[in-house]
Symmetry: C2
Subunit: 330 residues, 2 copies
């Protein structure tokens, strides 16, 4: 019997419990080329929210109504009708919010943990870490000596950006909401941290920390942070636009006071998706392994226990509850 979260209603704004349902599903027997996986870790990510809407303009295909919410997960092979996998193999897969799944052999990837904890492959060595790495170094082309501004710096991607930037000798200004998160970002090595719940606008706080301006902005939230970054950019600044959590649950328009600075400062703005960098994953993995080994970068995540709490964990993303990557341990 597999427990599977399905999408019952398309959420209107912030997702509610009633938009989802946990079902017990009898799995069929394996066909040739298939494996049965028992998931150990399930990922909940902001990008899942737009996929829950019917909006045809979403990044990727919308989830089907009454279908399973798929996404990254790591599990153990418990049965195999594939020559490529055997029982006990640890595999990355995309079965998502389920505890057990039958997956075709070409939809799973064996994980060589190289002695590292397997949960790392859901966070710093997985999609989260790769998004931080490629966004900072490939998209924004940040280099040693740059002043880098990172929003949602206590979050999954942001906290990794902070650490990579520090590992490479950049000056880092993070932004986070509330004292606990601000302290966490400082503990990651950020030179200065903006508290966006503070009375003073982000623009003013950023100006105080970077009076000469910023070279790079790694955007995880859009909105006033992006506008503040535009207003504090140095000439030839590069912005990597990773995902705008603040916009996921809203259909509000985006308003900028400082967009004209794109010309005045010759700013480069580039949006990106993790998927675009598949061919560079080996570079990322070997670099991160080195930094982890040297202690320059540390893995951090928030963990929620049990398949029944997946929706709770997911909703937490939009309440700003998590520190580091949010992972459900099945």
């Amino acid at each position: 019997m597999s427990k599977q979260w399905i999408l019952k209603n398309r959420p209107d704004g912030t997702p509610k419990d009633s938009d989802f349902e946990l079902k017990d599903v009898e799995l069929p027997s394996l066909k040739q080329g298939e494996i049965k996986i028992r998931n150990k870790y399930i990922s909940v990510d902001p990008y899942m929210r737009p996929k829950m809407s019917a909006n045809e303009d979403s990044y990727t295909e919308a989830y089907a109504l009454n279908g399973v919410i798929d996404g990254m997960s790591i599990g153990e092979v418990v049965e195999s009708e594939s020559d490529k996998f055997e029982k006990g193999d640890l595999v990355m897969n995309f079965s998502g919010w389920v505890d057990e799944a039958i997956v075709s052999e070409d939809k799973a990837k064996k994980v060589d943990t190289r002695g590292l904890p397997d949960v790392y492959f859901m966070s710093i060595l997985g999609m989260t870490g790769a998004t931080a790495y490629f966004g900072l170094l490939h998209v924004a082309q940040a280099k040693s000596g740059d002043t880098v501004f990172v929003s949602a710096a206590a979050g999954a991607v942001g906290s990794t950006v902070v650490q990579i930037a520090k590992a490479m000798g950049m000056t880092v200004i993070g932004s986070a909401g509330g004292r606990e998160k601000v302290e966490f970002v400082k503990s990651l090595g950020a030179d200065d941290v903006i508290d966006y719940k503070d009375e003073q606008p982000v623009y003013e706080q950023l100006k105080a920390f970077a009076p000469d301006g910023i070279d790079v902005y790694f955007d995880n939230v859009g909105g006033d942070h992006l506008d503040a970054a535009l207003g504090n950019a140095k000439v030839n600044a590069r912005f990597a636009i990773c995902g705008m959590i603040s916009g996921y649950n809203k259909s509000d328009n985006v308003e900028f006071e400082n967009f004209w600075q794109v010309i005045a400062k010759r700013i480069q703005i580039r949006g990106f998706l993790y998927n675009d960098f598949q061919s560079s994953l080996p570079e990322f993995e070997s670099q991160l392994a080195v930094w982890l080994q040297k202690g320059l970068v540390k893995e951090k995540h928030s963990e929620v226990q049990g398949i029944e709490n997946v929706v709770e964990a997911f909703k937490g993303l939009f309440e700003g509850n998590n520190i580091g990557k949010m992972i459900v341990k099945v």
Copy 2:
């Protein structure tokens, strides 16, 4: 006696006649290393508007109150105390809205017309043409086969972008206001032209002309055109942000409905200024000379006669009166 336009008041919104004054000024005698120039052509450009405000955040230094409005001009040397110039030389200079000026020898550049009309060096072979060329090919990296959208396509820069894009085998959609300008842009070779004064929103018109989306957007106006381009971008589209005329006289914020597409479509947005490409001017000049010779690109400008009509010509830029580059013939 030199006639010189000075800035009397910093304009509030759209410039008025009373913001300027035409003065008669006695020029001193030449010092060693100086030349006296009698201007033949004077340029009026949108970028001059923000320089009339005291805003410290403008692209470049603000004009001084009661100072001369400087800018690109072409004139003839009428007196020389320099070894580098002799009487009769045609020179590009930056004396601006004046009929006669004394200029240091290092602030003038001899023009070799290569048999082309001298007015070309104020338009297609000057800053206007170079802005079009570098924005389209260096910033947006447009290439043969691309679908290119150009706003203000009847204007100075836009009309040159249309022609260069067609000369290189791109599909071009222009935008202009009113039937006369739309016809003009079509006559330049544009495949389709949006009339932004039409009832149908720019977004819808662009969607109809480019159902598969655009590869490149050359932005001259910002606002709804930029938003429409975001909403109709192909994956990996490149936007060159050249100047936002519509924003020059306003302090309104910019609002986007489609900014999230920056991520979904991995759009690259880059602002640029003509000044950044000085080292590539020889490439531009030789390429344009070839296209002009082959008839692939044609020079177009609007001309106003007389130093006393400079302000009139300048104000016209913001009323959308000009077709092609606006030049005052002294």
